[in-house]
Amino acid sequence: MKEDPGYYDYWPYQNRPRITWPGGARMAFWVAPNIEFYELNPPDNAHRKAWPTPSPSIPGYSIRDYGNRVGHMRQMRLLEKYGIRGSISLSAALCDHHPEIIELCKERDWEFFTHGIYNTRYTYGLTEDQERAMILDSMETIERATGSLPAGYLAPALSHSEVTIDLFAELGGIYTCDLFHDDQPTPLNVRSGKPFVSVPYSLEMNDTIAYVVNKVRPRDYGRMLKDCFDRLYAEGAESGTVMCIPTHNYQVSCPHRLRAFEEALEYITGHSDVWVTTGREIAEHYLQNHHAQALNAIAQTEGAA
């Protein structure tokens, strides 16, 4: 085990080269709906239990199924209303289980990035070859279902190995959502040396972290989103920032919670100088316009290797 994952170097949030977004926007804003499939009877994983109660674990399984049966349509209509194309963090097996959802999102030109095969299958315990095969399976499944190879990765249930990001870069990915170290995109060091970027995704704004872990009240969640936006929008006057709202159809789309989310979306999209975009577009823009400059600046940071 290592003291530090080694994917990035320390790089203070001041005196960085200025990031510019298309149209002179201050902020790149994206929404990342996680569309997941949890298995009712996943195989045991020695490192992490999928469900807290003996099989069949109806409470956890059925609320996640609610997300696909009921919640998806609600959130999709809401994003459409505010001109937002979702960037879907997709359990690739959902292409097999629920192709109707994939079609609805394809029709709206949403982005699909990979979130593994199932959210009940963890990276823990996989050999490197197995992990590579799992990621490749997820990418190929999504490419077959959507026509595009996914550009981004969020490891299933945020479960990682030491080489997760290296493997994804080697398989053709260009960005990851797995790291929470910054409010701007940053270059990552991957072992292949390929250009690769971390796109800010945010655990703090993640509805499941807010509602399930931090037990935030729905209207306070709406307020948090607006407060986060206000600060990053203000700072974006100096150098472009990124705000992401990661969502889950079984959390944010519940009838008692959607209103707070809608108020935040209305507020955010009501501002000018916000680039409402997708994870892939942020990564591509950054790689084309800012990546080389950032590498150079990082190399000159005090203490750089």
Binding site: N41, D44, S55, P56, I63, V70, M73, H97, Y118, P218
Partner: protein, 306 residues
């Protein structure tokens, strides 16, 4: 279940990874009409629960059971408070706002408290079976013969004590064993409220014949919001009212919806909380598009259109 190959996915296929029900998105289903042109059915369910002082916690301990070393008088008596005091505050609120509730009853509770049973029976509201007690979890690990006996004891006892047919079932903690749906269906249950995967009823398969699954949100119930999420009661009322608005709006576009409120007298029947229940009920019942009804009547209405 366990497989040795972590990359084997035996149930990766179209639809669900089990055969209990068909995959279907709510928005794709035919619109349901409620009687009198109403848009939103309000189902208020009250759990009448018995938490024994000496729980066995087998095969698992259901939320709300004793947590302190025996005898855990604080939790025993606080649960009992709901059945002695809180429930009567709830009944007043229902009558004040013309709400038709249902009661999900642990059979052991009404065997112990005939006066409470009489008060419920006199109202004529629907009664569902909630198993024998809050210490009889229906969960994986429970022996099939023991569970069959438990279902017969709970349902048979409740039918005898109430003189009612009893059509609905809610497992303690909404847990189920792999056989619970088969066993309750075999004893004449018509609908089960354990799966929180929909906002409308849907058909559910068992080896002993069909059931219906009725939606009863856990995310919005008083116990979950107040005791697990630790939100204050005024926030719970706000959440209920926001849910009412959203479902009413959706019902206007897509057909009838159900606002299902699951209540626990030991939680929401406290003097500092009950006014927020009243506030929510006043708000909901002031809407002319709302139909307050029993789960049996709501389900019958859906079945007749299916």
């Amino acid at each position: 279940m366990s497989t040795t190959n972590p990359l084997a996915y035996p149930m990766r296929r179209y639809g669900m990874d089990h055969d209990r029900y068909d995959w279907s998105m709510l928005a794709d289903r035919p619109a349901i009409q409620w009687p009198g042109g109403k848009k939103l059915a309000l189902w208020v369910n009250v759990g009448l629960q018995f938490f024994p002082l000496n729980p066995q916690g087998q095969p698992v301990k259901v939320a709300g059971n004793m947590t302190m070393p025996y005898p855990d008088l604080r939790h025993f008596s606080l649960r009992d408070y709901g059945n002695r005091v809180g429930i009567f505050r709830l009944l007043k609120a229902f009558d004040q706002y013309a709400v038709t509730p249902s009661f999900a009853v642990n059979t052991r509770l009404v065997e112990r408290y005939p006066a409470l049973l009489r008060a419920i029976l006199e109202r004529g509201d629907e009664i569902l079976c909630h198993s024998w007690s809050m210490d009889t979890a229906h969960a994986g690990g429970l022996a099939p013969t023991a569970e069959a006996e438990l279902v017969r004891r709970a349902l048979g006892g409740l039918r005898e004590l109430t003189g009612r047919e009893i059509r609905g079932w809610i497992s303690p903690g909404k847990l189920e064993s792999p056989l619970t749906p088969e066993l309750v269906r075999a004893e004449g249950i018509e609908y089960v409220c354990d799966w929180v995967n929909d906002d409308m009823p849907y058909p559910f398969r068992t080896d002993n014949g069909p059931l219906w699954s009725m939606p009863l949100s856990t995310e919005l119930e008083d116990r979950f919001v107040l005791m697990d999420n630790l939100h204050p009661a005024h926030s719970w009322a706000e959440q209920v009212m926001d849910a009412c608005d959203l479902l009413l709006d959706e019902a206007g576009r897509e057909g009838g919806r159900i606002l299902a409120l699951n209540l626990h007298p030991w939680v929401i029947g406290q003097p500092h909380r009950v006014r927020y229940l009243e506030q929510a009920l006043e708000y909901i019942m002031a809407k002319p598009e709302v139909w307050s009804a029993s789960p049996g009547d709501i389900l019958q209405c859906v079945v007749s259109q299916s």
